[in-house]
C-alpha cells in the first residue's frame, strides 16, 4: 500500500466513524442500506469476484438468513443477534446442498441454475412453505437487537452495528485473500484446468466458497431482519441478485475497495436523484453495457499480488 492509498483509507475510516454525528436520520439510514448491500456484495464478491463462479441467486441465501433469524426470534424468542451463527449455518448448508450437484457447470449455465434456485426459494416463501414463512405478507414483529443490555433502536445505533460488521468482514476477507485459500480461488478463476492440474481440488474450493459466501449473506439477512423488524418475500426478489451482481462487476470483481465504492454509487446515487428514481434501472442497464465496452474490469480492478524478490528469498523459495 503506498502513501496515497493509506491516507485515503485512513480518511475514509475517520469520515465513516464520525458521519452519524453530522447527518440526519434519513441520510444515516441511506448509509445503513449501503452498508447492508456492501456486506452482501462483499460476500458475493468471494464467489463471483475471487472464484469466478457466476452466482445470480445470492438473494436466496440472504433470504435464508433473514427468515431463519425472523422465525427463531418470533417463535422461540431467541434474541436476534444470537441467531447470527444459526442464520449463517442454515444459509451456508443450503448453499452447499444446492451447489453440490451443479457446481461443475460452466459459467452461464451456473448463472441460470442459481436464478432458478432463487426463484424457487422466493415462490416457496410466498406459498408459506411448512406454514412458517408467513406467505406473501412475510413475518413481522421481529424484536430489536440488544447488545450488552443496550437496545439498538435508532438509525445511528444501527449504523455502528452494520458498519462495524462491515469493517470486521473487510478485515477477515482481506486476510482470506492473502491466504492459501484465497490464492486457490484466484487460480480457479484464472484457469480452472491449470488449477486442477497443479493439484488444487477445484470442487472442494468451489463448494467451500459457495458455502462461505452464502453464510455471510445469511448473516447480512439477520442484520436486515433486525433493522426492518418486518420481512417479506418481495425483499428477496431476482432484482436484488441482479443489483448485487452489478455492484461486484461494476466495482471491480475481486477488489474489496472497488466493491464498496460500487455499493456507494449503486445504492447511494439513486437517493441523491430521487426525482429520476423511475429511470434508475434504465440507467443501470445502460451503464452495464457501456462499462463492458470501455472498462470491463470494473472501476477499481483487482491487482494481482506482487511478490518482491527479497520477500521470496527470505522465505527460502529462491536459494
Amino acid at each position: 500500500m503506498n502513501r496515497f492509498t493509506s491516507f485515503a483509507v485512513a480518511l475514509f475510516v475517520a469520515l465513516m466513524a464520525v458521519a452519524p454525528l453530522f447527518l440526519n436520520a434519513y441520510h444515516v439510514d441511506v448509509l445503513n442500506s449501503i452498508g447492508l448491500y456492501g456486506l452482501l456484495a462483499l460476500s458475493l464478491n468471494l464467489i463471483l469476484g475471487e472464484a469466478g463462479l457466476f452466482n445470480m441467486g445470492h438473494a436466496a441465501f440472504y433470504a435464508m438468513g433473514a427468515y431463519t433469524a425472523a422465525i427463531l426470534n418470533t417463535r422461540y424468542q431467541i434474541p436476534i443477534l444470537w441467531t447470527l451463527p444459526l442464520s449463517a449455518l442454515v444459509a451456508g448448508f443450503f448453499a452447499l446442498a444446492v451447489a453440490r450437484p451443479v457446481v461443475h457447470l460452466r459459467g452461464d449455465y451456473l448463472l441460470i441454475v442459481t436464478i432458478g434456485v432463487s426463484e424457487i426459494v422466493r415462490i416457496a416463501l410466498v406459498n408459506d412453505v411448512f406454514g412458517i414463512t408467513g406467505g406473501a405478507n412475510g413475518i413481522f414483529g421481529i424484536s430489536r437487537p440488544e447488545l450488552f443490555g443496550f437496545v439498538i433502536r435508532q438509525p445511528q445505533h444501527f449504523y455502528y452495528l452494520i458498519w462495524g460488521f462491515v469493517a470486521f468482514t473487510i478485515f477477515l476477507f482481506l486476510r482470506l485473500k492473502q491466504s492459501r485459500f484465497g490464492r486457490a480461488l484466484n487460480y480457479l478463476r484464472e484457469d480452472e484446468v491449470a488449477a486442477e492440474g497443479s493439484g488444487v481440488n477445484t470442487d472442494y474450493y468451489k463448494l467451500a466458497v459457495f458455502g462461505l459466501g452464502a453464510a455471510w449473506a445469511g448473516m447480512a439477512g439477520t442484520l436486515f431482519a433486525a433493522k426492518m423488524t418486518i420481512i417479506s418475500p418481495e425483499s428477496f426478489s431476482f432484482w436484488e441478485s441482479v443489483v448485487l451482481f452489478m455492484i461486484v462487476i461494476l466495482g471491480g470483481a475481486g477488489n474489496v475497495a472497488g466493491v464498496l465504492l460500487a455499493a456507494f454509487l449503486v445504492i447511494g446515487l439513486p437517493e441523491l436523484f430521487r426525482e429520476f428514481s423511475s429511470a434508475r434501472m434504465l440507467v443501470f442497464g445502460l451503464v452495464m453495457m457501456v462499462m463492458m465496452l470501455v472498462r470491463p474490469q470494473g472501476l477499481l480492478p483487482a491487482k494481482s499480488r506482487q511478490f518482491s524478490f527479497a520477500e521470496l528469498s527470505n522465505k527460502g523459495s529462491f536459494r
Binding site: 469466478g52 457466476f54 450437484p101 451443479v102 461443475h104 457447470l105 460452466r106 459459467g107 452461464d108 449455465y109 448463472l111 441460470i112 441454475v113 436464478i115 432458478g116 434456485v117 426463484e119 424457487i120 415462490i123 416457496a124 410466498v126 406459498n127 480452472e192 484446468v193 431476482f238 441482479v242 451482481f245 462487476i249 423511475s278 429511470a279 434501472m281 434504465l282 443501470f284 442497464g285 445502460l286 451503464v287 452495464m288 453495457m289 462499462m291 463492458m292 465496452l293 470491463p296
Partner: protein
C-alpha cells in the same frame, strides 16, 4: 378426461409459445455460444408493439379478423427483428472477442435497459388487449370445446416451426447457419460470411419471439413489462430440455414444458406453477445436461 384434454390443448398452446421463444435462444447459442438474456425482453416488445399497432391501426376492423391478425403479426415480427439486429450491433458485436463474462453482463444490461424503456413508455401497470376484436366462439373437436384462439396459436406456432426447420435444413442460407454453428473458423474458410449469419440469426430469433409476444397478448389478454424474463427463463429451460443449439430440440422441449406445466398447475398445485419449470431446468442440468435431443454438452470450461 374433459379436464385432461383441455389442459393438454392449453399446454400445447403455451408450449408452442415457449418453443417459438426457445428457438431464438437456441439459434443464438448455436452460433455465438452466448445466452441472449435480452431475448425475453424482445418477446415483450412483440406483445407491446402488437397492442399499439392493434389499437392504433384498427387492422382487424378493416381487414377482418384473420387477415388483420396476420398483417399485424408480420408487422410485429418485422419490427422486433429490426430491434434484434440493433441489439446485436450495440450490445454483442463489440464484445465478440471479449471474455465470456463481459458478454453475459452486457446481455443482462441490455435486458434491464429494454425492460425499463418499456416501463417508462407504457407505465408499470398491466396493459390490456381489446377483447372485442377476437372471436370468442369455441372450436368443436370431437365434442371438446376448444377456444378458437388456442387452436390458432397451436397452428401458427407449428407452421412457423416447420417453416424454420425447412429453411434451416433445405436452403443454402440454412446450411450456412448450421455450418457456422458447428465451426465458425471452418465456415469462414469455406467462404461463409459469418457476420451475416449472426445477423440473420438475430433477425430470425427475435421475429419468432415477437410473434410469440403477440400470441401471449391475444391469448391471455393482458401483458406486463416484466413478463419477458419469466417467459424467457421458461423458454430457455425448454431450449435446454431439448438440447441447446438443437432446433428441433427447442420445438419439442417447448411443447413438452408447456404440457408439463399445464398438467402440474392443474393436478399438483397452481401456486407452484412457476416453480415447476425451474425444477425441470435444474433436474435436466443435473441428470442429462445434453438435453433430450442434444449432442452438445453443457460442458465444463
Amino acid at each position: 378426461m374433459e379436464e385432461f384434454l383441455q389442459q393438454l390443448t392449453n399446454g400445447l398452446a403455451v408450449g408452442g409459445i415457449y418453443a417459438l421463444i426457445a428457438l431464438g435462444y437456441t439459434m443464438v447459442y448455436g452460433v455465438l455460444k452466448l445466452i441472449n438474456f435480452a431475448h425475453g425482453d424482445l418477446f415483450t416488445y412483440g406483445a407491446y408493439l402488437g397492442l399499439t399497432l392493434l389499437t392504433s391501426l384498427a387492422l382487424t376492423d378493416r381487414l377482418g379478423f384473420f387477415m388483420g391478425v396476420l398483417v399485424l403479426a408480420l408487422m410485429v415480427m418485422g419490427l422486433v427483428a429490426v430491434l434484434g439486429m440493433i441489439l446485436e450491433r450495440a450490445a454483442y458485436r463489440p464484445l465478440r472477442e471479449s471474455p465470456r463474462l463481459s458478454a453475459v453482463v452486457s446481455a443482462l444490461g441490455a435486458s434491464i435497459f429494454l425492460q425499463n424503456t418499456l416501463m417508462l413508455i407504457y407505465g408499470a401497470r398491466f396493459q390490456v388487449y381489446p377483447d372485442n376484436i377476437l372471436p370468442v366462439t369455441a372450436f368443436d373437436l370431437f365434442g371438446l370445446q376448444i377456444p378458437v384462439m388456442r387452436v390458432l396459436i397451436v397452428l401458427a406456432s407449428v407452421v412457423m416451426m416447420v417453416t424454420l426447420y425447412l429453411f434451416i435444413q433445405k436452403t443454402k442460407i440454412g446450411t450456412a447457419i448450421r455450418a457456422a454453428a458447428i465451426d465458425q473458423g471452418a465456415a469462414r474458410l469455406m467462404g461463409i460470411d459469418v457476420n451475416r449469419v449472426i445477423l440473420l440469426v438475430f433477425l430470425l430469433g427475435p421475429a419468432l419471439g415477437g410473434a410469440a409476444g403477440l400470441m401471449v397478448g391475444l391469448y391471455y389478454g393482458q401483458i406486463n413489462f416484466t413478463m419477458g424474463w419469466v417467459y424467457g427463463m421458461k423458454a430457455f429451460t425448454a431450449a435446454i430440455l431439448g438440447g441447446i443449439g438443437n432446433i428441433p430440440g427447442a420445438m419439442i422441449g417447448g411443447l413438452l414444458l408447456g404440457v408439463v406445466e399445464a398438467m402440474g398447475a392443474a393436478y399438483l398445485s397452481i401456486a407452484w406453477k412457476d416453480a415447476i419449470a425451474f425444477c425441470v431446468l435444474i433436474l435436466i442440468l443435473i441428470v442429462r445436461p445434453t438435453g433430450l435431443l442434444g449432442e452438445r454438452v453443457a460442458d465444463k470450461i
